[in-house]
Structures are given as structure tokens and as C-alpha cells.
């Protein structure tokens, strides 16, 4: 098993014919992902890495049975692309696009709820369930099939952590990149609930950062509802207030969203915290 993504995902790529689209269609296929369609308006009829390209999502879905979309379109077209996918019946969306206006994200996050779809991102690297599927731009070579679930607000930091797990021969059930924006579709709590239910997941790693209160809410949720061991790393302990630290969501505003507050909440919930990202693997080895 795995969460959110497995062998049943038939992936359509929106924004398939760009540089990123072409590269990642190849990389996903190499990982074993069932990529069935691409969409770029006006480019229907082409093929990328053996994958047929359609002019719109509706055609892609009806011709190939795609149930999942990877959204790679530029920020100003992202809302339209997500709405199109949802109206075409897509049930799992992974939105990689960065710099989407957050009012757009608010709308499509709620619209995906209305449609009963899982939306991961935006501004995320995607999701990988080793041995099953990878939907996104995560580097395939760092993963190893196993029993640790990872949910993270950061991209490279996740790769770093996953890589160190794999180096210690600790495999992963699913790694979800939740996204670095203030408004995201799938949260720590959603991931924790899914990992809790997933028989193949034995421990969970959360990678948080400054900004918002997602970690504090996750901590409270862990205390009440999660029985599996949880480990965490929080980035931004030394970030100054009022500055956006690279991610749109990584900002300490009006005294809220500090790493100290998040670390305190996690500690209170019995979550084991790593000082350095690469330490997570040691903690999991010791306690997981």
C-alpha cells in the first residue's frame, strides 16, 4: 500500500510539451509511472516519449482513462488548468507550478474538495510511492521501497532527508511534497491521517518550516489521533521575522509562524525532532 498515489494512477500531464514536461514524462516513465496522456492546447496529435498529446483534458481523459493530472503549466494559467482537470473528472492532482496567486489557489483547493479530488501542491515537487509510482519532479534515484512515510513543505530538503534514509537502507512507503505556498491542497493532517491508515507505513517523517501554523495543528492532531511514531525537522530556526524565506509560505508574520513555536508543539506531542536534516535517518533508525 501507499498513500494518495499507487499503481492505479493513470497520469495525464498538463503542460506536457514544454521543456519540463518532456523531461519529467521521461523521468516518470523510467520510475514506472503509468503516464497515459499529455495536454497542451493546440498541440493535440503529437507524441512525447510515446505519450499521446491532446488539446484539452476532457479529450485526454476520455481517450486514455486518465484519473490523475500533473500540472506543470505557468502560474497564470494554473487555475484554469486545475479547473479544467477537475471538470474533466480527474480525481488526483499534483500542482508543481510555483508563484500561483494565492486567491487562485484558495479557489481551486476548495473546488477540488467539492469534486472529491485529492490536490497536492501547489509549489510542490509532487509525490512518490517507491516501487509504485511517482507523480512530479522528485528525483527518482533517491527512493527505496519501505515503510516510512514522509510529508514535507520543502523540496530539496525532502530529497536530502529521503536520500539519507535510503543510504541507511530505510525505505519509504510514500513521500508527499506538500508545497511551500501559504495555501496548499493537502496538509500535514491529511497526510498523517492517510499514513495512520496505511498498513505499509510504520513511521512518519514531517518536514516543516517557518510560516503559518500547520506544524502546530499537526502536533495537536498527532496527540489525539496518530498512534504511529512521528519524526520531524523544522527549517528556519534562525530566520528573521517579516522576511519571506524563499517559499511564499515561509514567513514569520505578526509573531506567528516561528520555528520555536513549531518545535515546542512537536515536542509536546512526543514527536522526535532532528537538529540537522540528515539526522532524521539516525532518529528513525533508533526509534522507528
Amino acid at each position: 500500500m501507499a498513500i494518495f498515489a499507487d499503481k492505479s494512477n493513470k497520469v495525464l500531464v498538463q503542460g506536457a510539451t514544454g521543456h519540463q514536461g518532456i523531461f519529467h514524462i521521461g523521468a516518470m516513465k523510467e520510475f514506472g509511472t503509468n503516464v497515459v496522456a499529455g495536454v497542451t492546447p493546440g498541440k493535440g496529435g503529437q507524441e512525447i516519449e510515446g505519450v499521446p498529446i491532446f488539446n484539452n483534458v476532457f479529450d485526454g481523459v476520455s481517450e486514455t482513462g486518465a484519473n490523475t493530472s500533473l500540472v506543470l503549466v505557468p502560474a497564470r494559467f494554473a487555475k484554469d488548468a486545475v479547473f479544467e482537470a477537475l471538470d474533466a473528472g480527474i480525481k488526483t492532482l499534483v500542482v508543481i507550478t510555483e508563484n500561483i496567486p494565492f486567491h487562485d489557489a484558495m479557489e481551486f483547493v476548495h473546488y477540488s474538495k467539492y469534486k472529491g479530488a485529492v490536490l497536492i501542491g501547489p509549489n510542490c515537487p509532487g509525490i512518490a510511492s517507491p516501487g509504485k509510482t511517482k507523480i512530479g519532479i522528485l528525483p527518482g534515484q533517491i527512493f527505496k521501497e519501505g515503510h516510512v512515510g514522509v510529508a514535507s513543505r520543502s523540496g530539496t530538503l525532502t530529497y536530502e532527508i529521503v536520500n539519507s534514509l535510503t543510504e541507511k537502507d530505510i525505505g519509504q512507503s510514500t513521500c508527499v511534497g506538500l508545497g511551500g505556498d501559504p495555501i496548499i491542497g493537502t496538509t500535514f493532517i491529511d497526510s498523517l491521517n492517510a499514513f495512520e491508515k496505511d498498513k505499509d507505513t510504520k513511521a512518519v517523517v514531517l518536514v516543516g518550516e517557518i510560516g503559518g501554523t500547520a506544524e502546530e495543528e499537526a502536533a495537536e492532531h498527532i496527540t489525539k489521533h496518530i498512534s504511529k511514531p512521528v519524526f520531524a525537522f523544522v527549517a528556519g530556526r534562525t530566520a528573521p521575522p517579516g522576511k519571506r524565506m524563499g517559499h511564499a509560505g515561509a514567513i514569520i508574520a505578526r509573531g506567528k509562524g516561528t520555528a520555536a513555536s513549531k518545535i515546542k508543539a512537536f515536542e509536546k506531542a512526543g514527536v522526535k525532532l532532528a537538529k540537522f536534516p540528515t539526522d532524521i535517518a539516525d532518529l528513525v533508525e533508533k526509534y522507528g
Binding site: M106, T156, E160, T213, G255
Partner: protein, 366 residues
């Protein structure tokens, strides 16, 4: 983008929310046409200007001249005052607080109001702040406004006026892709009527492309940060002396944290993002050099990014232009070995682990 008070008020005016009669004053001539008493307000993108002496009354021309020359050019928490707003005084009967902001957890707009206006909202007790969440699928509805207004202890006519203001600021908030619209205080005047005495309007940078009527005014950034922004590089100047270059915001933050662990202090946050384009790497390094750090710490994890490609970019800069501070590198991931070779070849110091490299950098920066 944070708008100056006067620009926020221009938007208020556009949406039919009353603001005091006033204008930007550049010199004494600009006072003509304004009735005494008026207030002179420093335009800075930060709170607390009142306490810092950035707001002064003028009862007469003499006051006005004196106070204007004091405020213009003063320094408020690192921001030099370059613009001063003069506004006629208004007779206040009651001060309210009103704002709309983003609730990240609920992923909705959050309207907050309080009968306790005029002070920092953080200092108002929670039970005196009334909240309504607006789901983006339906937008603002009468029930949201009723829910707030009914609790502010207003008279009927006052309530109706405040209701209109809420509806208007929501419209502004939504249409201009705001992160925050705050009116503190929103006042009820002695002669009736509701007026915004201050404005905080913060527009989502990612949405600026569709608000071409708003002239960008990047007031919070240092010159180097502005330069970086134009080049599309995530670059933040901090108080320390170690320049951190890493790929990914989370990793860059974690690198700064690691330095702190070894009593080093980050002076620059530079996130390369997903790029391994040597040209982009070169630009980043040039920016970093201009920030004059004592040490540069390059921390790379190669996922999709190939480390060797980044290393080539770094080597090119250093070979061509030289570098006058030590560069510590820690390289992991895709094409790690080739990258290490290239960097060693360029004379850079390579750490074995993140901890090792962070410690080396911190030691060198002392």
C-alpha cells in the same frame, strides 16, 4: 507588496471608503488648501511609526513647517522617510478595528473586527475580536457582515455604514489579490459617518501581473535584494557574515540553522531553486560577492539538479573573476563526485557532511 498608507487610501477612495482629506506634501507650498489642524504622517512600510515620532499634529503653519522638516528624512526602524502625508484632523466619536487577511489553515479569507480600534490588534483580547471566514467559492455574503456588525455594539445607522465598508474592503481584498487589508482605526465621526484613518494594504506579489495599475514600489528591499528580484533570484540579506547559497528554500533555511548551531551567522540567504544553469549560477555568485560575506557556504543537494553542472558555473566565476573570501562547499546527490572534483580543482574547501561544512564555515567567519 506592501503599499504605503497614502496608496492604500487611494484604493479605499476608489472603492468608495471615505478617508480624511489629505495629500502627499513635498514642501511647504503643498500645505495650501488644507485646513488646520492637520496631521503629518511619515510614509514607511512598517508599523510603530507613531512611537518613533513619525506622526505629528500641526495646529498652524509654524507647527507644520517645523514638524514636516523633522519627519521628512528621519529614520524609522531602518527606513528613511521620503514621503509625508498631510491629512486634516477629524472629530472621532469611536474607533474600530477592521481587517481582512488570509487564514492559511482554513484556506479562506478571514474578516476580523473589533470595537477596540486604534491599538495594535495583537494587544486586543481574543474575546473582543469578532471573526468571519469567507469561503472563496461563495465570496462575501450578508450573513458574514451581519455576523460581525451585530457584535460591535453600534447604533443602527452606524452599523449600516460599517457593513458597507466591510463589503467594500472585501471587494478590494479580492479584486486586488490582497494578502491583507487593514483599517485601524476605522472611525465613527462625531458628526456621523465612517472613515478610514489609516490603511494597510498588502498585495500578493504573485498576482501583481494582473494589477498593472499598481506601480510596483519595492520599499522593503535592500538595493542588492532589488537587483536579485529583477534577476529572479531568491536573495535575502541578513545580519550575519556568512553567505549561504543552497538549492531549495527549505535547504537554504536549514543551512542557516546549521551555521547557527556552530555559532556562525548567516548574512545572505540565496536560494538557487531548481536551476543548474551555469549562467544563473554565475549571476547568483556575482550577487553574493557584492554582499561581501566573510565566508561563502555553498550547500547543494542534487536531485534533478546535477551538482556537476552547478559546480561548473561556480568554477567559471571563480576562475574568471577570482574570489576574495573562502568558499566552503558541501555537495550531495546527482553527480556528486564529478562536482567535488571540479570544485576542488577551483580551490574550494569541501566539507564531508553538512555538519562538517557548517562548522568549517562558522570557524572561518569568526
Amino acid at each position: 507588496m506592501k503599499l504605503f498608507e497614502y496608496r492604500g487610501k487611494e484604493l479605499f477612495d476608489k472603492y468608495g471608503i471615505s478617508v480624511p482629506k489629505g495629500r502627499l506634501v513635498k514642501n511647504e507650498k503643498d500645505f495650501s488648501g488644507l485646513n488646520f489642524p492637520f496631521v503629518l504622517k511619515a510614509q514607511v512600510p512598517i508599523g510603530g511609526r507613531g512611537k518613533a515620532g513619525g506622526i505629528k499634529s500641526a495646529e498652524n503653519l509654524k507647527d507644520a513647517k517645523e514638524n514636516f522638516s523633522q519627519i521628512m528624512g528621519m529614520d524609522i526602524k531602518g527606513y528613511k522617510v521620503r514621503k509625508v502625508l498631510a491629512e486634516e484632523k477629524v472629530n472621532i466619536r469611536k474607533e474600530l478595528y477592521l481587517s481582512i487577511t488570509l487564514d492559511r489553515s482554513k484556506r479562506m479569507s478571514l474578516i476580523m473586527a473589533s470595537g477596540e480600534g486604534g491599538m495594535d490588534i495583537e494587544s486586543v483580547p481574543d474575546e473582543k475580536i469578532f471573526k468571519e471566514w469567507v469561503n472563496p467559492l461563495i465570496g462575501i455574503q450578508s450573513f458574514h457582515i451581519r455576523g460581525i456588525v451585530s457584535k460591535l455594539g453600534l447604533e443602527k445607522e452606524e452599523g449600516k455604514e460599517v457593513a458597507k465598508v466591510i463589503s467594500k474592503i472585501y471587494k478590494l481584498f479580492r479584486e486586488y489579490d490582497c494578502e491583507l487589508v487593514e483599517i485601524n482605526p476605522l472611525i465613527i465621526k462625531k458628526d456621523g459617518g465612517v472613515m478610514a484613518l489609516d490603511s494597510k494594504v498588502n498585495i500578493n506579489d504573485d498576482a501583481m501581473y494582473r494589477h498593472t495599475d499598481i506601480e510596483p514600489e519595492v520599499v522593503e528591499l535592500t538595493p542588492l535584494e532589488k537587483d536579485a528580484k529583477e534577476k529572479g533570484i531568491a536573495f535575502i540579506q541578513l545580519e550575519g557574515n556568512i553567505g549561504v547559497i543552497a538549492n531549495g528554500a527549505g535547504l537554504t533555511m536549514a543551512t542557516l540553522d546549521a551555521l547557527t548551531h556552530y555559532e556562525g551567522k548567516g548574512g545572505v540567504f540565496l536560494d538557487l531553486g531548481g536551476t543548474d544553469d551555469p549562467e544563473k549560477v554565475k549571476q547568483a555568485f556575482e550577487l553574493m560577492k557584492k554582499a561581501k560575506p566573510k565566508v561563502i557556504f555553498l550547500n547543494l543537494f542534487g536531485g534533478i539538479t546535477r551538482c556537476d553542472s552547478v559546480a561548473k558555473g561556480v568554477k567559471a566565476v571563480i576562475t574568471k573573476e577570482g574570489i576574495d573570501c573562502p568558499v566552503i562547499t558541501r555537495i550531495k546527490g546527482c553527480n556528486e563526485e564529478q562536482a567535488k572534483d571540479i570544485l576542488k580543482d577551483a580551490g574550494l574547501i569541501t566539507g564531508t557532511t553538512l555538519q562538517d561544512a557548517a562548522q568549517k564555515s562558522s570557524d572561518l567567519a569568526r
